[in-house]
Amino acid sequence: MGGAPGWLSQLPTDGRFLAGAAVLVIVTVLLRLLLQAGPRGRALRAFVHALEGSVLALLLAVMIFLSFLQVVLRNLFDTGLLWIEPLLRHLLLWVGVVGAAFASRSGRHINVDALSRLLPATGMRLARVATNLFAATVTLFLAHACFKLAHEEMQSPSAAFLSVAVWQVQLVMPLAMLLMSSRFLGHGIEAIQGRGLHPETPGEVPV
């Protein structure tokens, strides 16, 4: 089973991780805000958007294919591949967190915004600042919790499916949380600056 590379398993898991992660998130956001003005920043943004979308689409495509393969094998040939089921479960984890990260880029998380709809423009802006900064903080702590889990797994690696270790699959969790944190912080700063949130595709179904 794959052990973790030295630098990864030696990362601190205490408060120092939190501090480092916070710095990382803030620097990322500042860089993004600086770059955003220029055409290169926009191109980078579009590239990340497309890349993330492709990853999501690919994850789903693999899920559909493998689950269908399993149905065919089980019902027509009375056999099956043992690794498909655990692989599907871990793909689900990836879809969940990558999808959630994607949802944060355009503020499309499930929420109850009963109150903010009734507020005047300034109140709405304040609400966006407060909720986004709050979400950025929580996801930062979640990144810490998720990293600690993956880190514990690294100490005694076990197999998730085939020859992939559980910690390798789990690493997506802290990464996605950091990405979400930086996105929420970015939205918060944009709200402070008074710039609007531009949904990727207008008229999206608000479910």
Partner: protein, 423 residues
């Protein structure tokens, strides 16, 4: 939790903070103040990699595909050819089409958007009263939550550990009762307001069926597979996804290949939104159960309420409030595990409880002031929320009536399960 944190978090939630961050924040604080390592939050989150939930992305994708393809149009055409000649036929069409559609897409907001757009002009052209039309379209969005293979049923089964096959059977009679009651009202209204009747035409029926020939078998394949026990729910979800893909992209070609990637991504953004709530809620639930909150809740309630009858009534009131304040997924994941042990102490059957829970959330979708479908409807039809809320009132009354029947006739939820010996 300290006294100022709860109102602060409630405020943040109402201001529009993502629900999973609220739930995760409560969990993190609860764990930290009780000296439990926060790694547990992540351990619980990792549990979202559960075999039963694999059905969620597959069904959601199939629902997106069907709603973006021509399925709503063809479904309405077939039901219109079948039911259009009945007085109030088009209203019945709306009810049936919305129920089928919500069951398959699982997210009723999608139904209001897709079906509302199709049915609104048709209902208006047939001179249905505007108020009736808006009420019908806003409330029918959640109709169908009780029918398989709706996502909320799968989630309820997941948190209650009731078998999903049982719930798929248990929801059928309550769902049909709801359809019958609303259908009767629709027919009565159409008669009273003198909506002209359509002629029945075999010719049109044959053409409509032929047009939808590739989609009509889908419900039978899925439901037949599940009810016969030949395939599991996950397998049924996989079959649905592949079937919808073949039908919409290869046969009907309503969806171009180049648009497909966008649909893949979009559907998974919704799934990500649901799953991250699942992940965050699992931790909170686990903490609350470890802290014996349900037991204490029961002891507290028991001092006030002695009888199951009263308990069930108050449960409905409570769940209606939950349904209009919370979104359906977090309600299922956070509230259901708390209620389940309490209800069991009052000897309420878990299957019956699950159906009541779903029926209440179904109603909560359009209960003012914050029912989600009121807002989606307002966005789709360009009408003020309050006007839609007023238009929904007669329907709300009927839903509540059915809810009462479901509450005090557990047999409606349990009879089919027992009759067929579903496990």
């Amino acid at each position: 939790m300290s006294w100022f944190l709860a109102p602060l978090l409630a405020l943040l939630a109402l201001l529009g903070a993502p629900l999973f961050t609220i739930i995760a924040c409560i969990t993190l604080i609860a764990f930290a103040t009780n000296g439990i390592d926060t790694t547990s939050v992540a351990i619980e989150m990792y549990r979202m990699a559960h075999s039963m939930l694999i059905a969620i992305p597959l069904f959601t994708f199939a629902g997106y595909l069907l709603s973006e393809g021509g399925a709503p149009r063809r479904l309405v055409r077939v039901s219109r050819a079948l039911l259009g000649w009945v007085p109030g036929g088009l209203a019945l069409v709306a009810l049936v089409a919305c129920a089928v559609f919500t069951a398959f897409t699982g997210a009723s907001g999608v139904t209001v958007i897709a079906m509302g757009g199709l049915l609104l002009p048709a209902l208006r052209a047939e001179k249905y009263d505007d108020r009736f039309t808006f009420g019908l379209l806003t409330t029918s969005g959640s109709l169908g939550l009780l029918f398989p293979p709706s996502l909320p049923i799968i989630l309820v089964a997941y948190v209650t550990s009731v078998s999903v096959d049982q719930l798929f059977v248990a929801g059928v009679l309550p769902g049909i009762l709801l359809l019958l009651v609303l259908g009767t009202y629709a027919v009565q209204t159409a008669r009273r307001t003198g909506v002209p009747r359509q002629y029945f035409s075999w010719h049109e029926l044959v053409r409509a069926v032929r047009g939808a020939a590739w989609e009509l078998p889908l419900p039978f394949v899925v439901l037949g597979g599940i009810y016969s026990g030949k395939v599991t729910v996950t397998e049924a979800a996989s079959l649905t996804a592949v079937y919808a893909l073949v039908a919409e992209v290869l046969i009907y070609r309503d969806i171009k290949l180049r648009d497909l990637k966008h649909l893949f991504t979009e559907s998974m953004v919704l799934v990500g939104g649901i799953l991250i709530i699942v992940g965050a809620a699992l931790g909170l639930t686990n903490y609350l159960i470890d802290a014996e909150v349900p037991t204490r809740l029961f002891e507290w309630i028991e001092t006030w309420i002695g009888h199951r009858f009263v308990f069930l009534m108050l449960l409905n009131v409570f769940l209606l409030i939950v349904g209009c304040m919370m979104d359906i997924f977090s309600a299922i994941l956070v509230v259901m595990p708390l209620i389940l042990p309490v209800a069991q102490a009052y000897e309420v059957n878990p299957v019956h409880l699950s159906i009541l829970f779903l029926a209440n959330l179904e109603i909560g979708y359009f209960t003012p002031p914050v029912g989600l479908n009121l807002f989606i409807g307002s966005f789709r039809f360009g009408k003020p929320v309050m006007e839609l809320a007023r238009a929904s009132l007669p329907f709300l009354g009927l839903y509540l009536l059915v809810l009462l029947v479901l509450t005090y006739l557990p047999g409606l939820s349990l009879w089919l399960v027992q009759a067929f010996g579903v496990r």
